[in-house]
């Protein structure tokens, strides 16, 4: 299949990286982070930033191999069987259902408490199917526009939160040994950074001016981790660690305390819209990835996703339990598969 006419700009690619890494954090990410590392959450984020470099190097290695092909074709040249493709598709599908339930249950519980969840899922799914029909170029353009809006909203949130700040809530640092920050950083890494592998579906040749692409991806992920640190610091300082552990969505509750200029103070519903934008792009990209990898139409993937919502995730407690147990496993499996692919690539370099 010739994707040569689907050219994507460098800035659009980086905006997609931004959306992918940013989106799971405000929901599952910060909940699990605080649960496992308590007060040392900021150190966890530092450690996971350093570990993120490993994932980035694996990504770069696979991305640079045969830049004219996308992941589907690269796997066709490397492996004879289809097991790798199917297992990758399945693992990302599990992540897709988790993310989709996360954003939809947030919308239901905060905004529209009496609408059945099935309606909200269907409307979001219709939008995802629509954008998948248009192709990756449109996804990247929409992602650039929405990324710009998201950054503006995040900046408003960060600069408005300083009034109820109490920095001493972050102490004591490293009260126990190093174990809890490490555990927290493991969770952050597996829940947040794993989605960058979705972008392997784009061949490297399709990006305009791709000379310094790696540098820009690195800068984008650094910016995202900085935002993570800011959000976590605010959450723990404003609410106190004990209260922050109690909520499902602690970042959202922190936003309720924002006052700007003393009179604009009820804007948390407006600012959280940036999370909906990021989730939309992430879900669209994952559906695009799965459909390109296995040639299944997006509408079938979405139907299975909706079925999951009805049957398996029946209430939010069960969802949290399953997520904490199974999502890190699936993410670790994805990393292992990517390692297998890179080893195969190295072998193929040697035989050439």
């Amino acid at each position: 299949m010739n994707y040569m006419k689907d050219k994507i700009d460098k800035l659009e690619f980086c905006s997609m990286v931004f959306m992918l890494i940013m989106s799971p954090f405000l929901g599952m990410g910060i909940y699990n982070l605080l649960k496992f590392s308590n007060n040392d959450a900021v150190i966890s984020i530092f450690i996971s930033y350093i570990l993120n470099i490993i994932i980035f190097l694996i990504f770069k290695y696979i991305f640079d191999y045969k830049p004219k092909l996308d992941l589907n074709e690269k796997l066709n040249t490397l492996f004879k069987t289809k097991y790798i493709k199917i297992s990758l598709a399945l693992l990302f599908f599990i992540n897709l259902t988790a993310l989709s339930y996360n954003i939809n249950s947030f919308i239901i519980s905060q905004f529209l408490s009496e609408t059945p969840i099935i309606f909200i899922v269907i409307i979001l799914s219709i939008l995802i199917i629509y954008i998948n029909k248009k192709g990756i170029q449109i996804i990247s353009r929409v992602s650039t526009f929405l990324a710009l809006l998201s950054i503006i909203l995040i900046l408003i949130a960060i600069f408005g939160s300083y009034s109820t700040f109490d920095l001493t809530n972050i102490l004591p640092i490293l009260k126990d040994n190093i174990k809890s920050p490490l555990l927290g950083s493991f969770y952050t890494l597996t829940i947040n950074s794993i989605y960058i592998f979705v972008l392997l579906i784009i061949p490297k040749e399709n990006i305009n001016n791709n000379q310094k692409l790696n540098k820009y991806i690195f800068i984008t992920s650094s910016i995202v981790f900085l935002i993570f640190i800011a959000i976590t610091t605010y959450t723990i300082s404003v609410l106190g660690i004990n209260l922050a552990l109690m909520y499902h969505y602690p970042a959202y509750i922190t936003m309720k305390e924002i006052t700007i200029f003393g009179f604009i103070d009820k804007i948390e519903n407006f600012i959280i819209i940036h999370w909906i934008f990021e989730m939309f792009i992430t879900l669209s990209l994952i559906v695009y990835f799965i459909s390109k990898l296995t040639n299944i139409k997006p509408i079938i993937i979405i139907t299975f996703n909706i079925l999951f919502h009805i049957t398996i995730f029946t209430n939010s407690t069960k969802f949290n339990y399953l997520v904490t147990k199974y999502i890190p496993i699936s993410s670790v499996l994805i990393i292992i598969i990517m390692l297998i692919i890179s080893i195969k690539i190295k072998k193929s370099y040697k035989t050439l």
Binding site: L112, S113, I122, P172, L243, K256
Partner: protein
């Protein structure tokens, strides 16, 4: 295929049925709730009236008071439907008033409803009331009772420091933190008006006593939460000083804490005969204040350690700096106050008969 989609999508949108559609007139905008408990919870709820009255325009309408009861607070809130058709909407609530007797038994049962409800913001203030019928008092201003209380607390926070302003988030945060105890302002009715007059101190979640308004200023000074206040010294005649900036610094070692207060202020009113032109007299006034504040704070700490609650949060500070804490009675507290008086207003001298 396209035609099917074009028909299907609008149908779907309309099928979502507007489940959450709430007209403005169906809301009962609650601004204050007063909780009391006999055997059942008895609630008094103040709701704003939104019907158009034919009386003069521009006047805030008088609020409506409802009473209802139930075994839990949520039941009692829903039972108000027996008296009025509007479903209560607690997002704009400004004040939550807890009865004194209920506070003596423990406030932990009240907290869960507002913590869990997604519709309520947690920015309302919580106060303890000594009298019943607190919401039925006639406010002679055009504001409702709750709004005047809310604005009084904010004004007090900014200008007097007499009240410990506790929003619901702060209350939950302190309640969940095992190292700090709760202090709430308290109100009662005097001469048909609502006044704030003492602060209620808690141990765990039960009310155990009260401290006076003046002591609350010193409590706020220790915790570093004063923005602007006025302190009077009672040495000979009265000198009143307006404090613009109050900073608190802690230095923590094992079983010992040093609190350094640095206050910057102006002389507002002086009725003593001190030679104000002389720089030494300014130092003298500063020393008077420093001594007095230090003594008052030490008295307060002694009083509170009799109650055996740690409302200052010393245990929390020791925990944060990783040092040992053996109880409020067993640590040594050193307080040093440093006051700087920069200006004395317009007058270079003080007024006295020559």
């Amino acid at each position: 295929m396209k035609i099917k989609l074009i028909i299907l999508i609008p149908l779907l949108l309309f099928l979502t049925g507007c489940y959450n559609y709430r007209e403005l007139n169906d809301l009962g905008i609650t601004t204050a709730i007063y909780i009391k408990k006999d055997k059942l919870y008895e609630l008094t709820i103040e709701v704003l009236k939104t019907e158009k009255e034919d009386s003069k325009e521009g006047d805030m309408p008088k609020p409506v008071i409802f009473k209802s009861s139930g075994t839990t607070i949520q039941e009692a809130l829903r039972n108000t439907i027996l008296k009025s058709p509007k479903r209560l909407y607690a997002h704009h609530m400004q004040v939550l008033i807890i009865d004194e007797n209920l506070a003596k038994e423990g406030i932990s049962d009240i907290l869960d409803l507002f913590f869990r409800d997604p519709e309520s913001r947690k920015q309302f203030f919580v106060v303890v009331s000594k009298d019943d019928e607190i919401l039925e008092t006639d406010s002679n201003l055009t504001d409702t009772n709750s709004k005047s209380m809310y604005e009084r607390i904010i004004a007090n926070k900014n200008f007097l420091g007499n009240i410990v302003p506790v929003t619901f988030t702060n209350l939950l945060s302190k309640y969940l933190n095992p190292n700090i105890e709760i202090v709430l302002p308290s109100i009662n009715i005097k001469d048909d008006e609502i006044v704030f007059n003492e602060s209620a101190i808690f141990k765990k979640d039960k009310l155990i006593g009260y401290i006076s308004n003046e002591d609350t200023i010193y409590l706020n000074l220790i915790c570093g939460k004063i923005k602007d206040t006025v302190i009077t010294s009672k040495d000979k005649n009265y000198i009143t000083v307006e404090i613009n900036e109050a900073k608190t610094k802690y230095k923590v070692e094992d079983n010992k804490i040093e609190i350094k207060l640095s206050l910057i202020g102006n002389i507002s009113e002086i009725n003593e005969q001190i030679d104000l032109i002389n720089p030494n007299s300014i130092n003298h006034i500063e020393n008077i204040f420093e001594e007095e504040i230090k003594n008052n704070i030490n008295n307060l700490i002694r009083k509170i350690s009799d109650y055996d609650t740690d409302i200052f949060g010393f245990q929390d500070i020791f925990y944060k700096y990783n040092k040992n804490f053996n109880g409020l009675k067993n640590i040594t507290i050193n307080i040093s106050v440093n006051m700087k008086l920069k200006y004395k207003g317009n007058g270079a001298y003080e007024l006295y008969e020559r």
